[in-house]
């Protein structure tokens, strides 16, 4: 097991390096002045530009730039953004909110997705099943920002059940609506995945054996069918955690949540290259770690997968 973890971890390193290299190259080496955003419309004097380029290592050859940047990542010294604030501090400030939002969304999609998928799968072809299937198709098709605005308008503005936007404190009740919006699309996928998995397993031999042994229907469903059906679902949920972090850009924008996504969006609009690269690196890291977690979880859940 330990060797397996080490191997999976080592496999992550080239992916992480490649992805950060790609982002760094795109942001700093494509034509166009990376420092233009600081100077604004009127432009800076050549001396100021030279100073800025030196400050952000842009006067160095590309490989040196990238290595210096990597050194910064490893030592948690991400430098400053274009307004002069340390990037690591900003990320540490906004990350807890996004993490809270993503975990809430994950819990919502897991609980409701699995519950609805279980019921639909057990009643395949019945009214509940078909209506839930149609509903999930619609949820998948409606873009998240349309959904977000609709929910914000209906629940926040019309019904006034909750604040339409989230304050700086980002309390649990305030984050509930954004978390629902964020989790809705994945909810539909979890539901469909659980449903098919249940349908596949419900006629398996071991389920018939369990019934023949005289176990109650409840025990057969919960202990035998559900547990075995959850393997692909759990894998999906793990991979989704990383996607939720990135997908928070739109949701955080709509509900004005002061999180990683919103910070990234502002940095993109301001052309703040160092900030963009650092946040994307951070998101890539989380994405990679989430995938590692999934691999380990998968191996742990499904004994057929050898740690070879």
């Amino acid at each position: 097991m330990a060797w397996y973890i080490v191997r999976r971890f080592l496999q992550l390193i080239p992916v992480f390096l490649g992805a950060t290299l790609l982002v760094y190259f795109l942001v700093f080496s494509l034509p166009g002045d990376a420092t233009a955003a600081i100077c604004g419309e009127r432009g800076c004097t050549p001396a100021v530009i030279a100073g800025l380029r030196e400050q952000y290592n842009l006067d160095q050859p590309f490989w040196i730039q990238y290595l210096l940047y990597l050194k910064g990542v490893v030592t948690f010294d991400l430098g400053t953004n274009f307004s002069g604030r340390p990037i690591a501090t900003i990320i540490a400030e906004v990350f807890p909110t996004t993490a809270k939002l993503a975990i809430m969304a994950l819990v919502i999609e897991a609980v409701f997705g699995i519950a609805f998928g279980l019921i639909a799968g057990l009643r395949k072809g019945k009214l509940f099943d078909s209506s839930v299937l149609v509903l999930s198709l619609i949820v998948i098709a409606v873009p998240i920002f349309v959904l977000g605005f609709l929910m914000q308008f209906l629940i926040g503005v019309k019904l006034q059940w909750t604040n339409p936007t989230v304050s700086g404190d980002a309390t649990f009740t305030e984050l509930l609506l954004p978390a629902v919006v964020l989790g809705l699309v994945s909810f539909a996928y979890v539901l469909r995945l659980t449903r098919t998995s249940i349908i596949e397993n419900v006629n398996a031999d071991y389920v018939r054996t369990a019934t023949a042994k005289g176990l109650s229907r409840k025990r057969v469903v919960v202990v035998h069918v559900l547990r075995n059906s959850l393997i692909p679902v759990v894998t999906f949920l793990g991979a989704d955690l990383g996607a939720l972090m990135g997908g928070a850009i739109v949701t955080e924008g709509i509900f004005n949540v002061n999180g990683v996504g919103n910070t990234l969006y502002r940095a993109v609009l301001n052309g703040d290259g160092p900030m963009v690269v650092s946040i994307v690196t951070f998101l890539i890291l989380i994405f990679c770690l989430a995938n590692l977690l999934v691999d380990l979880l998968y191996a742990w859940l499904d004994p057929r997968i050898r740690y070879a």
């Binding site: 080239p14 992916v15 992480f16 490649g18 992805a19 790609l22 982002v23 795109l26 942001v27 494509l30 034509p31 166009g32 002045d33 233009a36 198709l137 619609i138 998948i140 098709a141 409606v142 873009p143 998240i144 920002f145 349309v146 605005f149 609709l150 914000q152 308008f153 503005v157 995945l193 098919t196 998995s197 596949e200 996607a243 990135g246 997908g247 850009i249 739109v250 924008g253 990234l264 969006y265 993109v268 609009l269 052309g271 963009v276 994307v280 998101l283 890539i284 994405f287 990679c288």
Partner: protein
């Protein structure tokens, strides 16, 4: 009258099943076995022969595509989605039929955020433009981006995936690693990072957006194609073609790819919807299509500030967007059921 040379020596009424079984194999068996072999098979009167499907040998068997078409025709999901898609394409080609109002002229600020009036059934945007006209004219750019991004992704991702799957070895290893790197960077995230660069901000149009979406969207199709090609690569008909002297590339193009196409088409159809969403998400964030291009995402972006006073200005383009995406996803679902029965579990 001499005894028939039947294996049954006893007096029990036994019937040989079929003429074929009484000839060569039966004789061969009697030679190896020292005992007489008895067959106890019921009379045809007791278990009558059931009707079987007739084999029509003078008609070629239906291909995968013919079979798929037969099952597709019966699916309501397929019919609904294709009618919707044809409708959307028709609107994109001939927007003038559906609205006489030009989308960017006749915008009176006096009508800003106005409700429906005669001749303007959906009301007005914040700029006082006719919403119906803007929604109708916005169809073309959304569809163009989706269509060409999908085309590009299928060509590039399909080619890379097919090469990786067919040749394996180091080609596969390198291409898989490159795909992994792109996979760690989700489509929207990568697009957001790239779109804001000066290079793209200076030439923002439909085609640069297509290039960006293709650049970050190809790994998914590449993975699907690779898996499909690996499945087909070792099929008997490919081995037969190779042993008849067909070159590896020829076998790939003529035999492997046509047979590995089904899952690719399914995913491509679904990702057409995804690309339309991606375009509108970027436009919605204000960094996709330039403001002078009409698109649903741009309209939703510009209706954002007046959400509370005029929610319908967001609702209608959002509805058009959702219906279009829904119809492509439904079509993909229907195609999956018809073409790729094994993948139904996903």
């Amino acid at each position: 009258m001499p005894e028939p040379t039947s294996p049954s020596a006893s007096s029990r009424p036994t019937v040989a099943t079929a003429p074929a079984s009484t000839t060569a194999p039966a004789v061969a068996r009697t030679k190896t076995s020292p005992y007489p072999i008895e067959h106890f098979v019921a009379d045809p009167d007791e278990t009558p022969v059931r009707a079987t499907d007739s084999v029509v040998s003078d008609v070629a068997p239906r291909s995968l595509w013919g079979e798929a078409w037969r099952s597709l025709r019966k699916q309501p999901l397929f019919l609904i989605s294709s009618i919707l898609i044809l409708g959307v394409i028709f609107v994109a080609l001939f927007p003038g039929i559906f609205t006489h109002e030009p989308p960017n002229e006749n915008c009176l600020l006096a009508n800003s955020d106005g409700g429906p009036t005669a001749g303007h059934p959906l009301g007005f945007t914040v700029q006082g433009c006719d919403i119906l006209s803007r929604v109708v004219h916005g169809t073309r750019s959304s569809l163009t981006v989706g269509l060409f991004a999908t085309l590009g992704v299928v060509l590039i991702g399909g080619l890379i995936g097919a090469l990786a799957g067919f040749f394996g070895g180091w080609v596969d290893a390198i291409l898989a690693r490159v795909g992994d790197i792109f996979f760690a960077l989700p489509l929207i995230l990568g697009a957001i990072v790239v779109v804001q660069l000066p290079v793209f901000q200076q030439n923002r149009n439909v085609w640069t957006l297509v290039v960006i979406l293709v650049a970050f969207g190809w790994p998914q199709i590449a993975r699907i194609t690779r898996a499909a090609v690996i499945e087909v690569r070792n099929a008997d008909f490919v081995t037969a073609a190779r042993s008849l002297g067909v070159s590896p590339l020829g076998a790939l193009v003529k035999h492997v790819i046509p047979n590995a196409l089904a899952p690719v088409i399914v995913i491509a159809t679904i990702s057409l919807g995804t690309f339309i969403v991606a375009e509108s998400t970027l436009s919605f964030l204000g960094i996709g299509l330039p403001p002078d291009v009409m698109s649903w995402g741009n309209d939703i972006f510009s209706a954002k500030p007046s959400l509370r006073s005029n929610p319908m200005a967001i609702f209608w383009p959002g509805l058009a967007l959702s219906i279009t995406v829904l119809s492509f996803i439904m079509l993909g679902d229907a195609l999956r059921d018809a073409l790729d029965p094994k993948a139904r579990k996903r």
